[in-house]
């Protein structure tokens, strides 16, 4: 089997296993212990862990640096890179640097607008967009050339990923946008948090019909709800998020003190369905500031033990 990157995530997917990935947000400072603590909950329970890049446009430890710490802690990072904060030169040099330190998976994103973050005055760079970042990374890997055309010394073997939002309007365009990311060159996709299962089934079925799920691995995004407030906030305030009223009602119906438990139960039910759903190759679990719950969720969703190569 010829691998593009040799990453653990790639091996899991290429061998037909149902992938299970996690997420780790770098600290808002220099506290390495915080990264190590979060990493300990994820180790052995996920195939790869997304290291976010200044998520919600708030300054944090750089994602490549936190990725290196993750490697030192025995985790495989999925290095996230957004287009908001750097131009094509900085992006390519960061990719080289991350690769030199052992990073083998990368997730190409546009990035939240700076207006949401702690530096709303910042200039949004967006020299290239997420689609073009995919193309650029693929060119570096497959042609051994930088975007500007010059030769890259050595070979850069990267498993290239991107995000997909199956829900945002115009819905009929969603699957075409996925198609564009695949023709740009992605190997895998991690979706936005899924709550509207009906819409997701429709989207994945369109992707199946168009043959897209044979060209890239689709990992379904899951974020367990911790509270009714979180569900309502996500529905009302987070752009691109589709939270059905039925789900909010189900959380409201949980016994006092058991809402988070109900949230985890819902997430596990979703994961069970994704295992059987044609076109879904795995789950990306985004347990935001809830890393300590990952071992329990992985156990209850019956995704353990993780394959070892």
């Amino acid at each position: 089997m010829e691998l593009k990157s040799g990453s653990n995530l790639e091996k899991v997917l290429r061998n037909g296993h149902f992938a299970f990935t996690g997420e780790l947000g770098p600290p808002r400072g220099v506290d390495v212990e915080e990264v190590k603590k979060k990493a300990a909950f994820l180790k052995g329970n996920v195939d790869s862990v997304n290291i976010t890049d200044n998520q919600t446009a708030v300054v944090r430890m750089s994602s490549w640096a936190a990725s290196i710490i993750a490697i030192q802690e025995g985790l495989e990072p999925n290095y996230q890179m957004v287009c908001r904060d750097r131009n094509r030169l900085a992006m390519q040099s960061d990719i080289l640097g991350a690769y030199a330190h052992g990073v083998r998976n990368m997730l190409c994103l546009s990035g939240d607008h700076a207006q949401f973050g702690d530096h709303p005055q910042a200039m949004g760079v967006f020299d290239i967009d997420s689609m073009q970042l995919i193309q650029m990374t693929k060119k570096m890997r497959d042609e051994g050339k930088f975007l500007g055309g010059a030769e890259l010394e050595g070979s850069l073997e990267m498993f290239i990923g991107a995000a997909a939002n199956p829900f945002a309007e115009p819905f009929e365009w969603r699957v075409h946008r996925l198609g564009k990311k695949i023709s740009a060159g992605v190997d895998f996709i991690q979706t936005q948090c899924i709550y509207n299962m009906e819409r997701f089934r429709e989207w994945i079925s369109q992707a199946n019909d168009m043959g897209l799920t044979e060209k890239a691995y689709i990992l379904a995004g899951v974020t367990p709800m911790k509270s009714v407030g979180m569900a309502k906030y996500m529905k009302a305030k987070v752009p691109g998020m589709d939270v059905p009223d039925d789900l909010i009602k189900r959380l409201q119906g949980a016994e006092k003190g058991k809402v988070a438990e109900e949230g985890i139960k819902i997430a596990c039910e979703q994961i069970e369905e994704f295992k059987e759903l044609k076109g879904v190759a795995g789950v990306h679990l985004m347990a935001i500031e809830w890393e300590h719950k990952v071992p329990e969720i992985a156990e209850r969703a019956k995704v353990l033990p993780r394959p070892v190569f």
């Binding site: 309007e169 365009w173 023709s183």
Partner: protein
Amino acid sequence: MIVAKRKPFDDVKNMIKDYKRVLTVGCGTCVAVCLAGGEKEVDVLNAELDMARKLDDNPVELSACTVERQCDREYMESLDEIVEKNEALLSMACGAGIQFLAERYPHIPVFPAVDTTFIGVNQDVGWYEERCRACGECVLDMTGGICPVSMCAKGLHNGPCGGTNNGSCEINAEQPCAWYLIHERLSKQGRLNSIMDVVPARDWRNQTPGTVIQPGYTKKSE
């Protein structure tokens, strides 16, 4: 047209506080149409400055002159005589006009009285909206006449991003999502094919000063 808005009064007043004879130069084209720096606005600003300086016990001798276009040498000549009688110039033209004025009279300080904002359209009297950022590589053929450079908050060429929110941009519910509109228009025209292919990374060299010489003309200084 180029749209500008007047700077805060105190900023303008502060810029010229040390000068006793000041000429305010308006521009009769874009900034006059958008009610920022035409003849009328020059008179209003001078009246305000005159009164404020008297109150400060620091009177100033203000004159006014509005030329047809501050970005065109042909119209600047008429200023030569009056400029020399002044210690400083206050320009109400766009950034190009202000610089052209400063270039013509390099020995006299020139100050901006307006902030140049964008190339835009007139939605109603006094209401202007941005439509173009003069990027130098127009893609409106592909995007159904809606500009992703100026209308998308991230300037995406392969949108919409995941933050598109039922037709609005993620930055603000009042701001339409450019790519939502692009999709809608192309869909109605049966032209969605034009955005099916990935647009490769583009050439942003417009960040270096540009020069345009139209066909049939030459750069006269050469």
